[in-house]
């Protein structure tokens, strides 16, 4: 669709040769604006559910997928985010009868973490899964290396890492803004 045609479909014809149409359009717009403000002033919208294609903080996944980055091999970050959003659709009782679903906050922080993680460069994709207490977990396991990292409610995460050298790193509470240690990042890089 050309830009001229696009404009024609959205903007009413308000030329002087057709003053009646122009007046009606102005009235309709006025009514629409009044209704809009009336709705704004009287209702508080409920938060919309998290779906595969929508989160509160993130861009819409379908838009991201349709962006210039179309090479699937280069978009493991989107696979991770899609997986996290699937976990966000779980309901209480999804595992054992007493299990709880990941909260909206947990989904959002996990998603932000995934974005930061893949922003580091070529990263081995983690296995992403949920636990019965609502945790969203990122798990890496390879020869001599384990990283078990997860989010539950709150803006922090915790992890246990066992490096190929045998060294163990244990953190109970790490802020999302704090970077992972260089040793851990080196271990999850594709070249490692």
């Amino acid at each position: 669709m050309s830009s001229a045609k696009y404009s024609e479909t959205l903007i009413p014809n308000t030329t002087a040769a057709d003053p009646v149409v122009s007046t009606q359009s102005v009235t309709q717009i006025g009514t629409t604006v009044a209704c809009f403000f009336a709705v704004l002033s009287t209702t508080v919208s409920a938060p919309s559910p998290i779906t595969m294609f929508r989160s509160v903080t993130g861009d819409r996944l379908d838009i991201l997928l349709a962006s210039t980055f179309t090479d699937k091999a280069d978009r493991e970050d989107l696979d991770a985010i899609a997986r996290i959003r699937i976990l966000g659709t779980y309901e209480d009782g999804w595992n054992e009868p007493t299990s709880v679903a990941p909260t909206r906050q947990t989904v959002e922080y996990a998603e932000r973490f995934a974005r930061n993680l893949f922003g580091l460069g070529e990263i081995v994709p983690p296995y992403i899964s949920a636990s019965g207490d609502g945790e969203i977990n990122f798990y890496w396991k390879s020869a001599g290396f384990i990283l078990d990292l997860g989010f539950r409610d709150g803006s922090s995460y915790s992890y246990y890492a066992r490096l190929p050298s045998g060294q163990e790193i244990i953190e109970d509470k790490v802020a999302l803004s704090d970077p992972l240690s260089k040793e851990i990042i080196d271990s999850i890089r594709k070249s490692a």
Partner: protein, 157 residues
Amino acid sequence: MEIEQQDKSFDQVPPLSDDEWLLRLYFSPEHIHNGEVVPTAISLSDLRERGFSLDRESIVNTEIIVTRAENQRVKKPENRAEPFLSRFECCPVRKLKHEDKPAFEVKESPMDENHAHAHILSAQKLGDGSLRKLRNQLIPHLQGLVALDAYIKDRQS
């Protein structure tokens, strides 16, 4: 009176011994990846306070396990993957250490509907990071996976 009878009934449940074999049913296919149990199969909350639920093989009524699997399958029909069990011995888990002290309490915890119920708890009060370490110590002991159907057939034969 009813509580008294229940207590008596629980008293008849023998304590969990080192040589017993334990069973853990997995409800969700995502907790088994590439044929291995993953850490999220053990929630940190279970290790910290609720207990990671098990059945004692020597006294369990297998009908209870089958019904449990079926109930969850009906509740979440999209998870129609075959249910699996971990089968493992009690003693090696009891021997696991965290900072030179026993890492886990592995104990009988009979319930009204299942006298064979037992659990694993962290033996120490730990933060989330250390509980993650504990579950990664436990995971290798859970890798003896067997399909529930095959296990039941084997028990019946």
